[in-house]
Symmetry: C2
């Protein structure tokens, strides 16, 4: 091992998710300020970090309302003292008992998009919940299409049949911004999405439904759009760590990326300017970045002091199998890297990398667990 | 919930990895017989199932030697009573202490491909280990290229300097068969790979090194090639469960696939003939199947009795986000599926799905844990 590194890197034996807490806290602070200045509720999505410890960093920025994507995550953060929680996933009927328990413990927000689910909840919950109508503004993942105002009005009227259901507003995820490049494209998509959800809001108001809030929030538009417009809350998640996908979109700079996967180099192939690291699909996830016809699974930095360098230009994760990462290194950097060294991989998609790794090691040497390293409830 | 299902499906609340033990045991039996008939050692790769319970199914077929892909997996299966274990991953120098402990407990096989690693092991291990030279026969993941016989002879001579290192043979993984289609293409690649590794064996024998064994074994060629040729052992892993990738290669039939992910339907989009299930990248992994210009993340079956149906023709997982699976269902089947129902997803890549799910539910209702549901060592 010829690499000159600090004590922390010397102790790393296997793929380890490193967290630069200062960068993450600065990322939180920046968006918290932006939301506060615009008078918008900041309801961050906690599916990215999945950690009660990291949740406290948000609390110290004044955050009191959060977003999660599963019943288990809602239970975990309720346990950690969070009271106002939106479960931003279409209601899973099969977890109705757990939803009932949660509705008695916290202020629970649920997403609905069909009369069947409204009826199901109305008949089966005995404590009140907030409902958000999921609006598909063009992303085509799920939600009621924005151009069907009559369907929204019908759904709203149905909600009023049930005293335990409270219509809080409209919610969308403009996930198509993930495929955009740069602020202009991202903000165009954001504004298009906003126009569409406002059209639904107006239709509902025209039909006599008042106080319909608007909830939006993907990381690209939250990061890049100077103003959020007439919305009530934003729900970004990924911005706390960012990643190679967000760098590719232009939503962050490389020095705003707060997590890397430290991977031992296990083989070297000078003839094709590649090294193999211990760090594969089970550590990074197999999500990827598409750049034109090419795809890659992450960018590559070197340990530097107690952290990591800027990404090496022209270096990327070419391929991943279960435990192997095949890394292209440009010839000018190749000679610096030896078997036994550590490379710091900037993941394609930090949310999924966090999910598979289950815990963080901060640059100060502290281990931070996530939900997935807790005993199951 | 209008679906008519057995008691087991009725109890499923969230994404659950179902295992048809009878199919898995039949898959094991078929390859065990094939290996025995050809006088070849069957050293299955346990990275696919990662379970001590399932390991016993191999033991009852007479298997005594296994393959793993990490130090932790070696520790776990050593604990479960396995003695002859090859760690089929380039030696990670940073885990030398754990390797030392293992080498005193079991017959440990390690993969080397460089003089630096041979020297490293020779100087640091005090108990003997078997070495396999990793040969790159054209897959270009890692290994010493097959067309450099002098490098192999040099490495072999170096090994003989160390009394704790025992050269057992040559090992390759012809992973390029994963991109082939059908028996003819797969077996052509297998024979090419075999020719190449035999060329290295002859070069070593020509230089006076005797008893050099050959270890091969990817699932497509193990499944499809009628004879293995002059090899000493095979190391397939995936064949125990197979998956949509292997179906696409032609390495299995759909009724040989032994695992599916049971996923609750949470939203329905008749206008685009899609449903959304609770079951995303964190449950299936984000590995994919490439068919021509298209890619998908799995195939779709329906619960049937105590198991699942054949895959629905023309149905596939179009897209995955963290928890959402977007499923295309052809119009003729669409009307059969309601919110609250269960779909059985045949994963793109069962090894990675097992890894992220961490446990199985058999069709008899038994929970089988893997390494990843055990307390960490």
């Amino acid at each position: 091992m010829t690499q000159t590194t600090s004590g922390m890197f010397d102790r790393i034996q296997r793929p380890t998710l490193l967290l630069n807490s200062a960068i993450a806290q600065e990322n939180i602070h920046r968006i918290a300020i932006k939301a506060r200045e615009q008078g918008v509720r900041f309801r961050p999505h906690f599916k990215t970090h999945q950690s009660a410890v990291i949740g406290e960093w948000f609390r110290s920025e004044g955050v009191t309302a959060i977003t999660v994507s599963s019943v288990e995550m809602a239970q975990y953060f309720a346990q950690a003292g969070w009271y106002d929680i939106t479960l931003a996933f279409p209601v899973n009927w099969r977890q109705i008992e757990s939803l009932g328990v949660l509705s008695r413990q916290i202020r629970l927000g649920l997403l609905v998009e069909s009369p069947e689910t409204v009826q199901f909840l109305g008949e089966r919950l005995d404590s009140p919940v907030d409902l958000w109508f999921k609006v598909d503004t063009g992303n085509h993942r799920t939600g009621l299409p924005w151009d069907q105002p009559a369907a929204f009005c019908q759904l709203a009227a149905q909600v009023f049949n049930y005293s335990n259901l409270h219509l809080r507003g409209l919610l969308t995820h403009a996930g198509n911004t993930y495929n955009a490049r740069g602020a202009v494209q991202v903000c165009q998509l954001y504004l298009q999405s906003l126009d569409r959800i406002i059209a639904v809001q107006r239709a509902l108001e025209g039909a006599g439904f008042r106080g319909i809030q608007i909830s939006v929030g993907d990381t690209p538009s939250t990061s890049l759009c100077p103003t959020f417009g007439p919305v009530d809350e934003i729900r970004p998640g990924n911005f706390i760590f960012y990643d190679a996908q967000m760098l590719n979109v232009g939503a962050c700079t490389s020095n705003q990326i707060a997590v890397t996967l430290a991977c031992p180099v296990v083989a070297s192939h000078p003839e094709r300017s590649e090294v193999v690291v211990y760090g594969g699909a089970i550590h990074l996830s197999k999500d990827f970045v598409r750049e034109g016809d090419q795809m890659h699974y992450g960018l590559v930095a070197l340990p530097q002091g107690d952290g990591w360098s800027a990404p090496l230009p022209g270096a990327w994760v070419r391929s991943l199998s279960q435990e192997h990462g095949m890394i292209h290194i440009p010839p000018e950097d190749f000679s610096r890297i030896r078997v036994g060294d550590i490379l710091s991989i900037l993941p394609a998609h930090s949310c999924l990398t966090v999910q598979v790794m289950g815990e963080y090691l901060t640059l100060q040497g502290e281990v931070i667990p996530t939900l997935n390293r807790q005993p199951m409830a």
